[in-house]
Symmetry: C3
Subunit: 344 residues, 3 copies
Amino acid sequence: MRTKTNDGRFFEDYAVGQVINHAVPRTVKMGERALYHMLYPARHALYSSDQFAQTCGLPFSPLDDMIAFHVVFGKTVPDVSLNAIANLGYAEGRWHLPVWPGDTLRSQSEVIGVKQNSNGKSGVVWVRTTGLNQHDETVMDYVRWVMVRKRDPGADAPEPVVPDLAKVVAPDTLVIPRGLDFTNYDFTLAGEPHRWGDYAVGETIDHVDGVTIEEAEHMMATRLWQNTAKVHFDTSARPDGSRLIYGGHVISMARALSFNGLANAQMIVGLNGGAHANPCVSGDTVRAWSEVLDKAETSAPGVGAIRLRLVATKGGTPFELRGEDGKYLPDVLLDLDYWALMPL
Amino acid sequence: MRTKTNDGRFFEDYAVGQVINHAVPRTVKMGERALYHMLYPARHALYSSDQFAQTCGLPFSPLDDMIAFHVVFGKTVPDVSLNAIANLGYAEGRWHLPVWPGDTLRSQSEVIGVKQNSNGKSGVVWVRTTGLNQHDETVMDYVRWVMVRKRDPGADAPEPVVPDLAKVVAPDTLVIPRGLDFTNYDFTLAGEPHRWGDYAVGETIDHVDGVTIEEAEHMMATRLWQNTAKVHFDTSARPDGSRLIYGGHVISMARALSFNGLANAQMIVGLNGGAHANPCVSGDTVRAWSEVLDKAETSAPGVGAIRLRLVATKGGTPFELRGEDGKYLPDVLLDLDYWALMPL
Amino acid sequence: MRTKTNDGRFFEDYAVGQVINHAVPRTVKMGERALYHMLYPARHALYSSDQFAQTCGLPFSPLDDMIAFHVVFGKTVPDVSLNAIANLGYAEGRWHLPVWPGDTLRSQSEVIGVKQNSNGKSGVVWVRTTGLNQHDETVMDYVRWVMVRKRDPGADAPEPVVPDLAKVVAPDTLVIPRGLDFTNYDFTLAGEPHRWGDYAVGETIDHVDGVTIEEAEHMMATRLWQNTAKVHFDTSARPDGSRLIYGGHVISMARALSFNGLANAQMIVGLNGGAHANPCVSGDTVRAWSEVLDKAETSAPGVGAIRLRLVATKGGTPFELRGEDGKYLPDVLLDLDYWALMPL
């Protein structure tokens, strides 16, 4: 009698070239922003004050960059990751347009790769997901790949297609929001004096603060993005009775914590890669550290781009990432590689 | 020294014909909607996207149907259920107008029945509650009956008046929102292909997903509707130290979970009945199943009405409702009977 | 490698006359109000209904008085209380303008006193904090004093300056919101019949209701005001592993609970003093009682001022405040002294 409910797609349901229009568009307004700033210690001034945003050449304050990501991502879950065993990676992510209060977002994914695992029980699916607004303009896009169960282990393996993905979004392809101008940037109101020129490639920053995670908070965050994966909500969905925390909750928590040391890394505009290294559960205290991976100039006045590695941990020593075996240390939760815009 | 605080009404304070104007009108906007979608996995597209709502003939997306119910209900608590022993039932509920962001809601109740219990210590009170907007238009109305303590067990019993209530809201009296038109309905964006014609009377649907309930979430939900009943907030209010979860929290959770299988049951317009069969407390994992009880046509283009039984459980087997003794099984939390609008 | 993060100021970093412009202005809208009413059982009608506010001469409903306080206060934390040992007191607080949805708030503090403690390890710092809106108008101001660690115990003690602070804000200096007029006040919609004239100096009111505090709620509240103090979020920040609850959370909870008995104490306009008597942690059940300390007339039509002591407790007996030794009883959380506006 489950014929009307969604069982999700299995590995053999994906084929390269397939386009999936994901359900339930969402109009986002200031309520969603208020919630984001309640769930995370988000303080980047451009996303906090209309006046600060105006000083930076924008009409008013857009919704936080990661709200766009979460809304676009959440819609893909029922079609892409309901039967996923693991979320393996991200690449080629770009923010094309700010999300303004009142925008309606929807998501579309194209299958760009499939490869069955050697065990025959699962396979890897690559999708390029595009978030669109009510004018059918692209708000953001990114590639992600997930390991998905097969419905029938005996089903034939498809011809493997593994997309050739850029290791890094080329900085000259980053999209700078129209009008953005950091020449009148107010460092006092922004919270820190450090400019783009003050950061050196290779520099590392311990963001010091920590937040102990609560069930109610991660579930509310995850629901807000209409992400329906059972493991986040239902204690009976996993053998150990714990609720797995949506990886995006860890991303947003770490990004917000990185304000302390990176208060001027105002807008995320590129997602080069990311790994959810270990599971996070309620009671973990999330901390973060960053490493400057690269820097680039942009065409916008006063605006530089900075490439950052953002690492979230639940313990351990800052700046330690992998063990001697090359694997992530057990206390590492997230290893994210992104481009942000910063005043020169 | 408690002379200025509200002790609530007791059974002998109610008389048939009495009209109670409930306190604290509330202006509701998009913030309340964002919260609703954070507290529940609410995904019905009409309440999520302005553009989707416009495709359905509405000017933009109204607030979720159950927000109207909760706001109207919450205001009645200090006057109707502060000394209630049990919330016994609902009947004759109709949604008359959508609630738009910026509307201000207030509530009014008329006492339509009283009947003292044989033990002389309590009695049943029936009220018809009307929710009004800032233009004094009726937004919704419904009957509910509660068992209320007597202040003085020795007080005389009133003449019993038991209202004659309809078992079902007649489908031709359901109010269809002005302009509603499902002829251009987008089933892909709505999330499921199943039309009104695809549902058969007697059909049952297991909504599969579950949500484990947290204290913080149900308290925030209950406060949002300005519902002040002590048992929801104060661990010392009940002998076992647990906080009883507001029955409406279970209704909204189950309704949201029913998206999976009933994504096109877009708008609730009638409440035929409902019982909070067993208490729900933090840690319970709420699941839901539905049964199609009836179907009816409407005068609006492309719009059908479907009568659904929505059952929330905290365990047990889907589709099992009552034991051999005719009583609700111990894992059944809610048995709700409502009319929703669905595309033909 | 912590050179880019904020270690906060230590005692020797403060000097009388210093002006600190606090970071991260914040645009607040209806989303923040919805959150406030979800986190606290806030029901004062002026802050709940646009129509009720209009009946009281205001253009529409402003944001709750304590939202202004929390936003202004939160911004001072990274500069004033990151290394604070204790928040010692408040004085001379006045609300100058209502906060309207869309206002952008920022904070500025002037150091008005410093006094090293006799142990040489810490000292007391007095600041007068001013909250400003986007028009550079003062929204509120107040004095607070905190005990702050010295970075270097051997550093010289500054010349002590102890400001002479008013014990009470003189009622004729309270700022009444422009247009406020309670002559058409609707006591039924407000929730209680008690007028200014019904309260006697010395009268005490037990607000009866209690709320058991949850971690998720106090952290969300604290984040909403961009208050970053580690002790509220990180279980490893305090020796006993508990998260200390932001004192402002207790203020707002107690103020909201005081609706029951003080529903007509609509707007807080003066803060005479306040002490966070004992720490509050998750699991405590917060209750409140009030004492009428004074009454005053105002120049606005139908508007009286009432001076109230608001005491929050986590147990004990209502109206008991201090032990025989003159110290606060262990169950007392908060002793707040404020002026509110009430219909005559």
